[in-house]
Symmetry: C2
Subunit: 409 residues, 2 copies
């Protein structure tokens, strides 16, 4: 078979897998996810061996790519958490009666077949599979070449788990090659079988997907996130939040990449820099006059460093901060630090990003931290889902109307 | 300016218009819609004159295209209704507290700039404009050549109304040419300024949009809707519902095009046919053995007649009816008529269309009938919105997180 034929066959099978998942009971979907978790634990040695091969071949992103025993256990535990989440399918989102007696219910349904295109993070293999099974959607996984061996090993475990629970392997499939042409096939929609593509990776991947896709895309653009320290910020809180937002984990999309600071708040900058011990700072002239640092260039404002590097820009007020964010941000997550409620509410209202925070770290941009139980990413588009994407966000709905013979006048 | 330059300029202006709409108060958006309604009434003569020109040139769809004084008044009254709807922006869809004290709110926001591509129905010009203003979105209207003069006349009234309320005309624009190349420009996304395209028209339009669009599409596919008469149907109710579903208004997308009837229910067919007085029937051999009718061919099962024509197919049970719908339907609206609750619930659960009804006419597929106040169409896709699309369905949301200095462990 050619690659195109292979991909079309995967699509056809996924359509059947979606039907099986949809028709399965919530209990069976739960059992399948638990059984997938058990299989991950049972396959830990094979997964670590495959990961060692990926790591040996990798030239970058080692932190995202690396698995060890605790991380494999964390993957399995993540599956257990998804198994424990309430099943969204069939739940009534709303129900109301019309004056003519019609009873209208809005009921959650699966979307169908989802294509997941990702890079560098082998754990996405398990997270995406579990969230799709929980929401009744078949998934076709397409890991990047950097995590291909690890992801294939994780998928082998997942497939065994599915089978043990009596669900077909067509419900969770993986593209059997790292050939980039497989991405093109997914973006073509696999002959109409694909309902949604979710890209998760760097800007070049997401931009390719958005340019080429013939199917709807739930975009996960990179996170060029900002923390804005307002003149009325509490200095200790500002230092703690900026340090956490930047350094807690530098490789996640919710990490702050740019600090915006009011001119009137510049006296706080020394304390903030002290809390950022070990972080490279790149700032404008006003910031550099307070704390010695490298100069920031135009490109810095657009860069998702994913590294212990922070760009710093001095602004006049919250409006200038919001303008900077509108111009350079990716619509992901932004925070304001201030004790002034009116300014905070103005900023929260004006800034049009998926997540806006007041006096909290941008690293809270996470489905688990939001209480969604799990996520497969943070959507930066404005359609269908925005922000953390968990099982509920991967459902559609239909209207079920119950009558007693009503006809329309 | 070339057409492409004109379209890009329209997109740029729409971005500004979206900002003005978003920053306007709910009261100002309400005032603008009321003022648009008044302007429609004041421009009635000009609108009817333009409509006469469209009608003289038209070779089809006269019922959809035709305006008279009552229909112009109905357009104005529709605007008044939208003005009276609650403003969705800024409303909290959900709000909850996390154990760490973070307060998370999900708040409605506009989508941005919407491109509306439609055919034959001049009233869509006003409906779409009002719903977009209500939801804070700028809109670029692209009527088909068949309703171009009527739509342009309606738009002139709307623009005057907007201006009187202090909102810029860039919030509601119309493409100044019936050249089909303008559709291509919209589908390209106008240099990134377009957030969503909504096609509303025949299959060829929607398929072109879905194939070419570089921006998200909220698809309004044609409605090949079904009414299924189960063996346990009440015969009088079945006749009344089928007749209403087919004949109340044959040119709307929720009109039933195919009657599926249980073999055991065929004795009801004579009574149903009597209620369908004046309707051409095309059936399979079993149906034609009860009531004389033309033979139905394969193409009939896929056809949205939009005319007093009904295809009739005999089925064994609800499962065969559901299979027929899955194969030939467009995912729009389907009804079951039965007194047997268990069969009804099985059908409602299995059939995956935007709207499924039990003992009610498919012609209830309408935003007004659902209580949404207004709609710009019935979405047949599964993403973002499904079924009637009113102001709420044209919003996005963001998460507003309020903290007290929380950092992530």
């Amino acid at each position: 078979m050619t690659l195109d034929e292979t991909m079309l066959a995967i699509g056809e099978a996924a359509r059947d897998g979606a039907g099986a998942l949809r028709d399965a009971s919530a209990d069976r979907r739960t059992a399948a996810i638990r059984s997938m978790a058990d299989a991950i634990r049972a396959h830990a040695a094979a997964i670590l061996k495959a990961n060692a091969a990926d790591l040996a071949a990798a030239t970058r992103h080692h932190d995202r790519l690396m698995l060890d025993e605790p991380r494999v256990e964390a993957i399995a535990a993540g599956l257990d958490q998804v198994a424990a989440l309430p099943d969204p399918l069939g739940t009534e989102i709303a129900r109301w009666q019309r004056p003519n007696g019609l009873d209208i219910a809005r009921v959650r349904t699966p979307i169908g077949v989802i294509g997941m295109i990702y890079e560098a993070r082998p754990n996405v293999t398990a997270d995406a599979a579990a969230i799709c099974v929980r929401s009744g959607n078949a998934v076709i996984l397409r890991p990047g070449s950097d995590c291909f061996a690890s992801s294939t090993a994780i998928h082998a475990a997942l497939a065994q788990g599915l089978e043990q629970a009596g669900l077909p392997p067509s419900a969770v499939q993986i593209v059997p090659t790292a050939d980039r042409a497989a991405v093109g096939a997914l973006l073509s929609g696999l002959g109409g079988t694909l309902d949604l593509v979710i890209p998760r990776g760097g800007r070049s991947l997401v931009e390719r997907v958005q340019a080429e896709a013939r199917v709807p895309v739930l975009g996960h653009l990179e996170g060029v996130c900002h923390t804005y320290v307002h003149a009325a910020a509490d200095p200790a809180m500002a230092a703690a939040i900026v340090a956490n937002a930047k350094l807690r984990r530098v490789s996640i999309c919710g990490a702050t990449e740019t600090l915006l600071i009011d001119r009137a708040a510049l006296p706080m900058l020394a304390g903030i820099a002290e809390a950022l011990d070990g972080c490279e700072l790149r700032g404008d002239a006003e910031a550099a006059a307070i704390v010695p640092m490298l100069p920031a260039h135009e490109a810095d404002w657009r860069t998702e460093y994913l590294a212990p590097v922070l760009s710093i820009r001095t602004v006049t007020d919250w409006k200038e901060a919001a303008s900077h964010i509108a111009r350079y941000g990716t619509g992901h997550t932004e925070a304001i630090v201030t004790q002034d409620a009116a300014t905070a509410e103005a900023f929260l209202g004006q800034v049009d990003s998926a997540i806006v925070l007041w006096n909290a770290s941008t690293q809270f941009a996470d489905g688990g931290e939001f209480g969604f139980g799990a996520e497969i990413g943070i959507a930066t588009g404005k359609l269908h889902a925005r922000g953390p994407v968990g099982p509920e966000q991967l459902t559609s709905f239909k209207y079920v109307v119950r009558g007693a013979g009503q006809v329309r006048p």
